[in-house]
Amino acid sequence: MLDAESCVVIVGAGQAGFQTAASLREQGYAGRVVLVGDEASLPYQRPPLSKAHLKLEAEDAQLHFRPDAFFAEKRIELRAPDRATAIDRAARRVVLASGERVAYDHLVLATGTRPRRPEWPGIDLQGVHLLRTVEDARQIRARLQTANRVVIVGAGFIGLEVAATAGAAGLPVTVIEFAERPLKRALSAEMATHLLRAHESRGVTFMLRTSVASIDGSDGHVTGVTTTGGRQVEGDLVLIGIGVQPNTELAEAAGLAVNDGIVVDAHLVTSDPAISAIGDCARYPSVHHPGAVRLESVQNSVDHARAVAARIAGKPAPYDKLPWFWSDQGDLRVQMCGLSQESDDVVLRGTPESGRFTVLRYCGDRLTAAETFNNPAEHMTIRRILAAGGTLTREQAADPAFKLASAMPVTAAVAKPAPPPAEAPKDG
């Protein structure tokens, strides 16, 4: 446990970095907390950037985790916009782009990811966008006001969320995807195929098994995309969402172990015991999956942050949280919990035709994960069963009459509030 004279430096002020700072104070850590972010904004949430925040009425302040005053009150020293350029591990100091050097007793790397930027000809044309930051979203939102046709490269979560938003705004949308189906690595074929059909029925055009050869333009502005098969797809707004890469350069330059992510142990500690890595940039051993994983999600960021903050505050415990995720694509809501592998097979609960269903993933007899479509109650129930170490047999999962909640391990009790005080105030 670090004392009141110590200093924790957090590099990265996204969901994981912000949550670490907030959780350190919640856990009673009394030392200095320095939070370094490379964007000019107060720390903010990214999930809405591909959804509600693309709509005209969006306001940046609604994205902020906390207002300005919070940081002063909690003595969180926000250095933004600034950026860590080097870690001096021997001296335990972080060098910032501004020239400041901050000594740390513990350093938390929450450097996140950045979108992959392909080397296609035309990538620099006006109207070609990647989406990661609030500034990216602002530019796309402005472009959506005047665009006539939208081309989205990559049928991942970002691509499909933006496709739904642009489609709902009345714009024709074409999604180009290299694989034979959307979300190939993330979802079962059953769920992905259903999503594909749902988007198609809302007017989105898909070009699957299709690669981009070049982005075309005139007068510096994008006019469309040419595929490797020679087909031309018209569009004056092109969004590229073909995945991300973890920001590991700082860690790598400091000599920390890196392997598509900063490598950490079960306590989220890097190869240097004075440095942790968390969130999208960290590759950690999961108790829910064979081998190490690197996950990109709110849950992963928040739970990692809480775990590291608790450890610094003197309450260490191996990280064992169950991953979960959601994606709102217009009126389609996909939720996942657990971690599946592509080879896992599936048990369907309910039918896609009914408008809501669940895909349960099995590795042998082990329930590994569940994907739900417009079915939040089943998502939450299965999530709690898995988190509590429980399971469902294939027969139970497939039986619509089986009450999932009855498979809940008895330890997963629900907290009850204290009875209201007798003098509970009533409305005037």
Partner: protein, 108 residues
């Protein structure tokens, strides 16, 4: 100006002056009211901004959507008839004070 009052499980309370239409979750977050976690940022995807609306006032709000209703089935603290996700509650006009009780835990 109307108020939102948040009652904590330990009996403490905080009252905030707000505009009509203020979101009950955002108001808590912006004023650092303990006990509203709001992990998903208001998408009704996490059930960690659970509140108990003072029963007499519950009918002043539109009924929960199907998604909210289902998420409420899995709150970390007991669901009660007056349970809501505060991210889905905007202060209606004509109410001087909205009182919500914050449950003992939001995260399992």
């Amino acid at each position: 100006m109307p108020q939102i009052t948040y009652l904590h499980d330990d009996g403490s309370r905080v009252s905030l002056t707000v505009a009509v239409g203020a979101n009950v979750m955002r108001t808590a977050i912006e004023n650092d009211v303990d006990g509203i976690v709001a992990e998903c940022g208001g998408a009704a995807a996490c059930a960690t901004c659970h509140v108990y609306v003072e029963p007499a006032l519950a009918k002043r709000f539109p009924l929960p959507t199907e998604i909210e209703d289902e998420m409420l089935e899995s709150t970390a603290s007991e669901r009660r008839p007056e349970s809501r996700l505060s991210c889905q509650l905007n202060l209606p006009a004509g109410l001087d004070e909205l009182i919500v009780r914050i449950p003992p835990v939001q995260v399992l």
